[in-house]
């Protein structure tokens, strides 16, 4: 009896020391694990990314410590308390310990409280309204993104006189004080706070730029918004994160560019080093293209399709514009592809192409399903395509000969 008592007492006096040492070890381990944070994320592209990563690092210290605690106790128990072969006796009849149970209820409660408060602060800062935001209209459609910016006359390139412009363009500017430029890429520059106002033309989509650590669903019937401020110039992947159908994985767009050939294709967020570069490389050329639309309908059609105003690029191949979509029939050589014309009930290729955009399910090319949205002539309908756009696009597609 005496021996075992002394043994127990000896163990108790050492217990505190062991608990303190083990506690320090697991907290130190948590810190070590948290050092991995920069390798677990893409490079930080925005001020939001810095905040979110700090929050994650904080949670990783705690989570890493808890992980080490639980796995450590498990491993210790497995080694220390394993039944010896042939030992069929029972363990000690301990049913609980109120103090211990209180402690392991209270400590996690305090931890989650602290995380909640910290996360709340990060949330408030990351979505705070910034001065001088660049407001960009964002449209998600199966399966492509397009971005539109309103350009007021004071932002026009130097030397543009309103009186030189085509009367239709002038009327457009007079009506609401700006022109809208549309692009399949989102352009901005370092330090410029961006606000996206996002709508979807069909199902749910979710706008995500992993490097910016921001994500927001696009909801039919609502306009949702998202804010971020880039801190690093570069090109970043925009991803659709909400299942939107067969082309969901392709909605990120594809990049076929290298550093020395800056032809950006697909849906990419392009960040310029500063505002001057942004104006020079993106804003002014795009604005001029809208202010002085080509006279030739085929050239205008090409410009419309290249601008990403319509999401055709995700599903169709069109080598002239670098499209690689694989869900619909190829548009290469569509202007002279007459072998099935008789089955379509249309008199000529122009009528057939026109009808394929206005009523795509009337005739399906064998092997392809009814995936294509119907583009409608009235502004209050979904997938609105004005008649003059349609004329220009059809004219352009007719030039695609084999």
């Amino acid at each position: 009896m005496n021996v075992s008592e002394r043994k127990t007492n000896g163990r108790n006096s050492n217990a505190l020391l062991w608990i303190v040492l083990a506690g320090l070890a697991i907290i130190g381990g948590g810190f070590l694990i948290s050092l991995l944070t920069p390798y677990l994320f893409p490079a930080q592209g925005s001020t939001q990314a810095q905040q979110v990563d700090n929050l994650f690092r904080f949670m990783l210290v705690i989570g890493g410590a808890i992980f080490l605690l639980v796995q450590g106790v498990l491993a210790f128990s497995v080694i220390r308390f394993r039944a010896k072969p042939g030992d069929v006796s029972d363990g000690a009849a301990i049913h609980g310990n109120t103090t211990l149970e209180f402690v392991w209820t209270a400590i996690p409660a305090v931890i989650v409280l602290v995380i909640t408060i910290y996360a709340y602060q990060v949330w408030q800062t990351t979505r705070a309204v910034q001065p001088n935001e660049q407001v960009v209209g964002t449209v998600g459609a199966r399966f492509a993104w397009s971005f539109s910016t309103n350009v007021t006359p004071d932002q026009f390139p130097a030397g543009v006189e309103l009186s030189q412009l085509d009367p239709a363009v002038q009327a457009d500017i007079e009506e609401d004080g700006y022109i809208t430029i549309t692009s399949p890429q989102l352009h901005t520059y370092v330090g410029q706070p961006v606000q996206l106002q996002m709508v979807t033309q069909d199902v749910l989509h979710s706008f995500w730029v992993p490097a910016m650590r921001v994500k927001q669903d696009l909801l039919p019937g609502r306009t949702t918004d998202i804010r971020f401020t880039p801190v690093e110039a570069g090109m970043y992947r925009i991803v659709c994160a909400e299942l939107c159908g067969s082309g969901h994985g392709n909605m990120a767009g594809t990049l076929v560019t290298t550093d020395d050939n800056p032809v950006y294709q697909g849906a990419w967020l392009n960040v310029h080093a500063d505002e001057a570069a942004f104006r020079r490389e993106f804003l002014e050329p795009e604005t001029l293209a809208v202010l002085f639309p080509p006279e030739d309908p085929a050239a205008r059609g090409r410009q419309l399709l290249a601008s990403g105003a319509y999401p055709c690029n995700t599903c169709h191949v069109l080598s002239d514009l670098g499209w690689t979509g694989n869900l619909g029939p190829s548009l290469d050589g569509v202007g002279t592809r007459t072998q099935r014309l008789s089955q379509t009930g249309q008199p000529d290729m122009e009528a057939y192409i026109r009808n394929s955009i206005r009523r795509p399910t009337d005739f399906l090319v064998p092997g392809f399903g009814p995936l294509m949205p119907q583009f409608n002539p009235e502004p209050d309908q979904p997938n609105y395509m004005p008649e003059d756009h349609l004329n220009a696009i059809v004219a352009y597609l007719l030039t695609q000969t084999e």
């Binding site: 929050l55 609980g96 310990n97 996690p108 069909d202 039919p220 159908g245």
Partner: protein
């Protein structure tokens, strides 16, 4: 102190009764037959869902489409995988354990409503067939969450079959849950209050309450979706005055509690297995029992954390708070289980290995769960492989590990035969390694930028995806080991005897398998289902053996040992 069954004079050990397959193919109101019917049906769908998972991982070996021809086919694979695993494997599998063991653990002859019990089961096979037949007419492709408008305006006619199938499964689930609540409320034996019930019964009670409160909301959402699809209504279509977020709210008001429907009985299994195979009382019985109820109730206030990228930004904060709070009762359970191990005599039976595996993997799911509750971080990883990883750490590292632990623990009771230990260990090692390397790297994929539900992905993610796929194939192989073990042991497994683990809960106080009305006479419960380490409990267990004959394997070792070292 303890009441002990008086062994009737001349009672003999009974050989395991031979099980006829035909008994399980027809309508039966015996809860044990229904339990096995649930189990076999669930395991069949486990194979179906598992094959789908293998196809998914095979497709994801490369960044391009190769196995499937288009994204739509891929979408049907994971839609069916999720639906089958959740509604046709995990939930019915807990129906199997609950049906078989709740009456036995309560010393009852059957469930409160045996006929209703059979009815609830027989809705499952037609529901499963209905779902899978969807492939013939255009399989659903909107994911198991089936968000409109994709599910209402776009997905194939199989989506309508999906709705009908889930309707049937929901009714089955509700009927089963009502039966459990009534059985647990009314059929406890004299001397067993709520706080003398085994913790598995507590867990089933908490689960049943959750099902009865939550599943009607699924039925409501499904009905609205059905009407949108076939009757031209516009509940979820903004063009007709509807709202897409309405579906998300109602669906997750069911489907978040459904996570607890899928894990609570697993918590119960864990409490049984850890205590019995550590030969030690469960640590903090009341805390574990009541935390199940706390989880079930708080579980109803957290649903919108699934909508952190669609919900109005201001509304996300309250749901972050509740989602953080629910970590506390879950933590209490984990620490109580660790306390149970501490100072025990751990026997590394396959059931125990899977229970320990559960502890070490589930804690990762718990940690990532708290991280996901933090809105700014969730925004980064929402709808990515981080979430895929998290949910599998909870539902595979949690629920499936618990199902495996339960199979190894109770197979002897159900069949009268022991599963092979060596094969069980092989199964565990393959599962543990396969599971970890399948799902842990997915955290990284998600944080680095790979969304979920894509068949094509950026080339830089291929390395991690190959690791994941290879590990997943290993995980697939591990399941074959389990099935081989089950089939082999059914024919040639060692006879188990009444109580091979020397456990104190009442399912072990009868022969294995139990006779048609479960007990020989009226059994008397030991006053503490986890009262190990006392002489009274050793005497109670010895009395079972004297009455029903020897058990394998502990009792055979025991006879070669000096007197049991009970102590307090």
């Amino acid at each position: 102190m303890a009441t002990i069954i008086a062994p009737p004079i001349g009672a003999q050990a009974q050989a395991p009764r031979r099980l006829h397959i035909s008994e399980y193919l027809r309508w039966s109101v015996d809860h044990k037959v229904i339990g096995v019917q649930y189990a076999v049906t669930s395991l069949f769908f486990f194979i179906v869902g598992g094959i789908l998972a293998m196809l998914i991982r095979a497709e994801l070996l490369t960044p391009q489409l190769d196995l499937v021809q288009n994204g739509q086919q891929y979408n049907t694979l994971f839609t069916m995988h999720g639906t089958v695993m959740i509604f046709l494997f995990i939930i019915p599998m807990w129906g199997a354990f609950g049906n078989y063991f709740v009456p036995l653990m309560l010393g009852a002859k059957d469930m409160a409503f045996p006929w209703l019990n059979a009815l609830a089961f027989w809705m499952i096979p037609p529901a499963g067939i209905l779902l899978l037949l969807g492939w013939l007419i255009g399989a659903p492709e909107a994911g198991w969450t089936s968000y409109p408008p994709l599910s209402s305006l776009f997905s194939g006619d199989g989506q309508t079959m999906w709705i009908m199938s889930l309707h049937l499964l929901g009714i089955s689930s509700i009927l089963g849950a009502i039966n459990f609540i009534v059985t647990i409320k009314n059929m406890r034996p004299i001397g067993m209050g709520y706080f003398q019930m085994p913790l598995f019964v507590w867990a089933v009670l908490a689960q049943a309450i959750t099902i009865v409160m939550a599943t009607p909301f699924l039925a409501g959402a499904l009905t609205l979706l059905l009407l949108d699809r076939i009757a031209g209504t516009a509940f979820f279509n903004p063009a007709g005055g509807g709202d897409v977020l309405l579906w998300q709210n109602i669906f997750w008001f069911y489907s978040h509690p459904a996570v607890y429907i899928m894990i609570l009985p697993g918590f119960g299994v864990l409490s049984e297995v850890l205590s019995v195979h550590s030969r030690k009382p469960i640590f903090g019985y009341r805390a574990i029992a009541l935390s199940s109820l706390a989880i079930a109730l708080v579980g109803f206030t957290v649903w919108a954390h699934h909508m952190f990228v669609s919900l109005t930004p201001e509304l996300r904060i309250p749901f972050m708070i509740t989602s953080m709070i629910i970590a506390v009762p879950t933590g209490i359970k984990v620490f109580s289980w660790l306390g149970t191990l501490w100072g025990g005599k751990l026997h590394f039976t396959p059931a125990m290995l899977f229970a320990l595996g559960f502890l070490s993997m589930f804690v990762i799911g718990g940690i990532s769960g708290v991280m996901l509750a933090a809105v700014p971080f969730d925004v980064q990883v929402h709808d990515t492989y981080f979430v895929v990883s998290h949910l599998h750490f909870v539902l595979f590292g949690g629920s499936v590990f618990a199902v495996y632990a339960g199979i190894y623990h109770w197979f002897p009771k159900v069949t009268g035969r022991m599963l092979n230990d060596r094969l069980g260990q092989v199964h565990f090692v393959l599962t543990y390694l396969g599971f970890f390397f399948t799902f842990f790297p997915q955290h990284l994929l998600g944080m680095l930028g790979m969304p979920r539900r894509v068949s094509v992905y950026a080339p830089e993610f291929q390395g991690l995806n190959v690791v994941v796929s290879v590990a997943a194939f290993l995980l697939g192989i591990s399941v074959l080991v389990l099935f081989y073990n089950i089939l082999r042991s059914l024919r040639e497994g060692r006879a188990a005897g009444p109580n091979p683990w020397r456990a104190l809960t009442m399912e072990w106080t009868t022969t294995s398998p139990p006779p048609p009305h479960n007990f020989h006479g009226d059994p008397v419960p030991f006053d503490d289902p986890y009262g190990y380490g006392t002489e009274a409990s050793a005497a109670y267990i010895d009395a079972i053996e004297r009455r029903f004959g020897p058990s394998a394997p502990l009792s055979t070792e025991r006879r070669n040992m000096p007197a049991a070292q009970g102590g307090d």
